[in-house]
Amino acid sequence: MADQNKTDTDSKFYNEVLSPSELFAARSRSHKIPVRGQKDFFPDDSDEQRQRLEQSLNEHWSLISEERVEKLGNLVKATWIPSEHIVELQSPAGKFWQTMGFSAGGKQFLFPEEALYLMECGNVQVFYQELPLSIQDGYEKFLYSSTLRLQEYQVFGHLKRLGYLVHRFHPSSETSSYAKQLNLPQSRDRAGKQLKRKRSASPTATSSHTEAQEESTADRMEEDTCGQEGQEDKKLPESHLTISPETSSTQTATASPGNKGGVRTWWMLDDVGERSDHQPASAASRWDFSSISFPDLGSSRERLSSCLVSPDPSLLPGALAVGVCDVDPWRTRINLRDVKMSSKEQMREEEKRRHRSDKDREVRRCSNWAEYRQLMERRQGRRSKGRATHLWDGEVTPLHDPRQPIPTGELLDKISVIKSTHLLEGASRLQASDEWRISFNVYQPDTVADFKKSNPGKPYTRMCVCSFDGPVPDLRAIKQLAFQSGDVPVVFAVVDYGDISFYTFKDFQLPTDVFP
C-alpha cells in the first residue's frame, strides 16, 4: 500500500507517505490478521514448500509495511516537551485517560512511555515544533538510557498490549511495612494494613515475624532489635515499643510498695494533669484520691449509708449541681449474692489467699528487681529439689529442664542447628543499588472498571527489567528489591532481543512437622 519503488533517479525523497487517495481508501481496510499455518520441519526443495514460504513472506511484508491511518477527529493532539521529558495534551483526552497520564497545574500530561504506546496504537498524535512525530522520532526522542531504556519500554508495551495497567514505580512514595503496621491514615495501601497475615504462597513481609517479636518478653525484643536492625531508622520506632512496657513495669515496681492502686499512679498523674488543664477556673490543686472516696457499692461487707452526699462542687465541671444520691435502688440492681462455692473450691480459694499474702509480704520486702529475681530463684530452687545437679551446676547446662513444660515447636527450635530465615531478613540494611531497580507497578486488567489514578491501591506485581546478557540477580539484589517492594511480589522481566520471559522468586519455608 505504501508508495514504494520510487527508486528512479528523479525522486530525491524516498518515503513511505501515502497519497490522499490511498488514505481515503484505507477506511475499508480489513482489521484481521491472517492466521499463521503450521511450520514445516525440514526444507526439501519442493515447489509446495517454496510456494508456502513465498506466501508467508508476502503476508509478512504486507502487514509490516502497512502504515497507520486514522481519522483526524479520533486523534488526540499532544506536544512533546523535551526539557521535562513529558508529553502535554492539547486536546481533551480519550478513554485512555482513565488509566494513563496525570494532571498537573490544570493541564493533562502523559509519560513518554505512555505517549509512545498510544502513538503505536494510533490514539495520539504527538507534535514537536509543530510537526508531527513519526514512531521512529518517538523512539529516538523518548527513550534514553537514563530515564527510560528501550528494554523497559518493550516490557511496558508488552504488558499494556496484554491489558495490564502499568505505572511507574517511585520508591519514595511507597509506605514502609512499619508504617502500614501502624495503620497510618495517609497510607494508600488499604490492603497492606492487615497485621495478622496467614502464611500464603506469595512472599510476605516481616509482619508475622515482628508480631512474634512483640508478643515475646521485653528482654528478647531488645536483643532482637539491637541485633537485627543495626543503626537503621527502624530501630527508633521499635525501641519505642520496647521502652514503653519497660517504663511501665519499672514504674510499677517503684510505685507498688505502700500504694493500693500502685500500677495506676503514673498515668493517673498524667490524667490529673490533663484534667487540671480542662478545669475552667478554680481547683488548681491536684486531686488527692485518698481524700476522695469512691464508695464500693458492690461489696456487702462495708456498711454504707443509704445515701451518698453530693460531691464537692469544685470537682464538678461548669455549673453542674448534683444532689444527694439514694443508693438503695442501685444496690438492689447489683448482684450482691455470695458466690456459692463447693468445699473444694473454698479450700482452693483459702490456699490462694494464704499464698498470696505470703508472697505479697515477701515481694514487698524486695526493694529492686535484683532482689525480686533472687527471691523467685529461691522459690524455684525450693520447688525443684532432686534435680540432677551435676548437669545443672557446670558451665554447660542442658538445653531444657524436662520438668518444665514446653511446646514441641519450641523444643525443636532449641535443638535446631540451622535457623531458617526468610527473604526480608537483614534486607533493611542493604543499600539500594544502581544496577537493580524496580521499574513498574503492574495492576491486573480486571481492575480497570474501578481503577482510580489517585488511589491505585496495591499493585499485582512490580517489574524489574533486565536482560540475558546481564548478570543473574544474586541474593543481595533479590533481598533489596523485595524490601523495596514491601509485600508485593517482584517479577523479573528478562528481555532477549525480541522475547520477554518473566521470572519470580518466591519465599518458601520448609514445613515443620509439629503438632501444636
Partner: protein
C-alpha cells in the same frame, strides 16, 4: 581425573538410557526424517551420549586418547537410530567444506543496498520497509519490537522497528551495508517544513472531500438504481437527490484520514548520499572476547546458509534454522564456548536435557577449533542429542 570424568559420563549414559520407549520413538522419528541435518559437521562414530566428534573434544575437557569403547558402544555399524550419515555433507547453497564458508550476501553484481540503522538507546534499529526486506534477503532475521499497525493490541505479531542482533549489525557493517540514520542537524529549514506540512494537509483534505463526495454519490446511485428496477423514470428524482447531496454534503476536518508514519520521512536514498554517510560511520569494535567468539560462530553458520536468531530463553546463544524461520522450526540451539573452557558434566547434562525437552539438538560451538588448508580458522561443532540405549 580422566577416569572419573569418563565414569561420570558412563553414569550419565545409563540414566539417559533409561528413558521410556515413547521418547525414544519420537527422537528416532525426529532423526530419521532428517537424514542430512548434520551437514557441515564433522561426525565421528556415535556414542551413547550422542556426543559425536572426530576431533578431540576439548570442549568437554576430556583427553582424546581414550577410545570410545569405554562407553560400550559398538561402532562397527552406524546405528540408524541417529540417522548419521558419514557421506559428504550435502552442499548448502554451493558451499564446499574444503574452504571456509563465504559470508553470503546478495549477488554482488548490483551495488548492495545500504540500510539505515537508527540507534535508540544504543540498540540498532531498522525502520524502513525496504531496509527490512534487504536485510531479510541477506538471511538476517532480527527481531520485531513495535506494535503492528493493523492490530496494535496484541503480542502475537509485532511490527516495525526491527532490532538487529549485535552480530547481525557487525556483519552488515563489515559488508559496508549500513549507514547511520539518526537525525542529524541541518536539512530543510524548520519553518519551511511546517509550511509544507500544512499545505499538504490542506491538499489532502480537499482531495479526500472530493473522493468522499464521489463515494457517497455512487452509493446513492447504486441504492436508487437497485431499488427502482424497471422503467420508472428515476433520472429526474435521481438528479434531484444528487443535487441535494451535492449541496448538503459536508466533510469536516475531523473526518479526514491522516497518516501516522512509522519511519521518519526525508532520508535520501540515493547511492551517492548513502555512500557519503557510510564513509562517515565508525565501525564499533568488539573488544569482548565472548562477543568475538559469538560473532565468529554467527558468521560461520550464516555462511553455511542457516538463519539465526537469539536463544536466550532456550539457554543458548543462537537458534539455528535450516531456512526462513517463518516456515521452519529451529533444528539447533547453538551454545558458544571457547576452546579452553571446561564444562562440568552437570552443565552438559543440563543443556542436553533442555535440548531434548524442546526437541532441538544442542550444538556446542568453539571458534578456532578447526584449521582449513588455506590457514583460515573454522569453528568446531559438537552436537548433543538424545539417543538412548539401542
Amino acid at each position: 581425573m580422566l577416569h572419573g570424568e569418563l565414569e561420570t559420563l558412563l553414569d550419565i549414559s545409563i540414566t539417559l538410557g533409561s528413558q521410556p520407549l515413547r521418547d525414544q520413538d519420537s527422537m528416532t522419528d525426529h532423526k530419521a526424517s532428517v537424514p542430512a541435518q548434520t551437514e557441515g559437521m564433522e561426525q565421528g562414530p556415535p556414542q551413547v551420549l550422542g556426543v559425536s566428534d572426530s576431533a578431540p573434544p576439548q570442549v568437554l575437557g576430556v583427553s582424546d586418547s581414550a577410545p570410545p569403547q569405554v562407553l560400550g558402544v559398538s561402532d562397527s555399524a552406524p546405528p540408524q537410530v541417529l540417522g548419521v550419515s558419514d557421506s559428504a555433507p550435502p552442499q548448502v547453497l554451493g558451499v564446499s567444506d574444503s574452504a571456509p564458508p563465504q559470508v553470503l550476501g546478495v549477488s554482488d553484481s548490483a551495488p548492495p543496498h545500504v540500510v539505515g540503522v537508527s540507534r535508540c538507546d544504543s540498540a540498532p534499529l531498522l525502520w524502513r520497509d525496504q531496509d527490512l526486506r534487504a536485510v531479510r534477503g541477506r538471511g538476517l532475521v532480527g527481531a520485531l519490537l513495535g506494535a503492528l499497525p493493523r492490530t496494535p493490541r496484541q503480542n502475537g505479531r509485532l511490527g516495525r522497528p526491527l532490532l538487529l542482533l549485535p552480530e547481525e549489525e557487525r556483519l552488515l557493517t563489515e559488508l559496508h551495508a549500513t549507514a547511520n540514520a539518526n537525525q542529524s542537524g541541518g536539512g530543510v529549514q524548520l519553518s519551511l517544513q511546517v509550511k509544507q506540512h500544512l499545505e499538504e494537509q490542506e491538499r489532502s483534505l480537499e482531495e479526500q472531500r472530493v473522493l468522499a463526495l464521489q463515494d457517497r454519490k455512487s452509493a446513492l446511485l447504486h441504492a436508487m438504481t437497485s431499488s427502482h428496477t424497471g422503467s420508472l423514470g428515476p433520472s429526474e428524482a435521481l438528479r434531484g437527490h444528487l443535487e441535494a447531496l451535492h449541496h448538503s454534503f459536508t466533510f469536516p476536518r475531523g473526518a479526514m484520514a491522516v497518516q501516522l508514519s512509522t519511519a521518519r520521512a526525508g532520508l535520501h536514498h540515493c547511492h551517492e548520499d548513502r555512500a557519503f554517510l557510510r564513509a562517515q560511520q565508525p565501525i564499533t569494535a568488539q573488544h569482548d572476547s565472548k562477543a568475538a567468539a559469538r560473532y565468529q560462530v554467527f558468521r560461520d553458520l550464516r555462511g553455511r546458509g542457516f538463519y539465526l536468531t537469539s536463544a536466550g530463553k532456550f539457554g543458548g546463544d543462537f537458534l539455528v534454522y535450516p531456512d526462513d524461520p517463518l516456515r521452519f522450526h529451529a533444528h539447533f540451539i547453538a551454545v558458544v564456548l571457547s576452546l579452553d573452557s571446561s564444562l562440568s558434566p552437570l552443565d552438559v547434562l543440563a543443556i542436553a536435557r533442555l535440548g531434548s525437552n524442546v526437541k532441538k539438538t544442542v550444538l556446542l560451538c568453539s571458534p578456532g577449533g578447526v584449521q582449513y588448508p588455506g590457514g583460515a580458522e573454522g569453528v568446531q561443532y559438537t552436537s548433543l542429542q538424545w539417543s538412548g540405549m539401542v
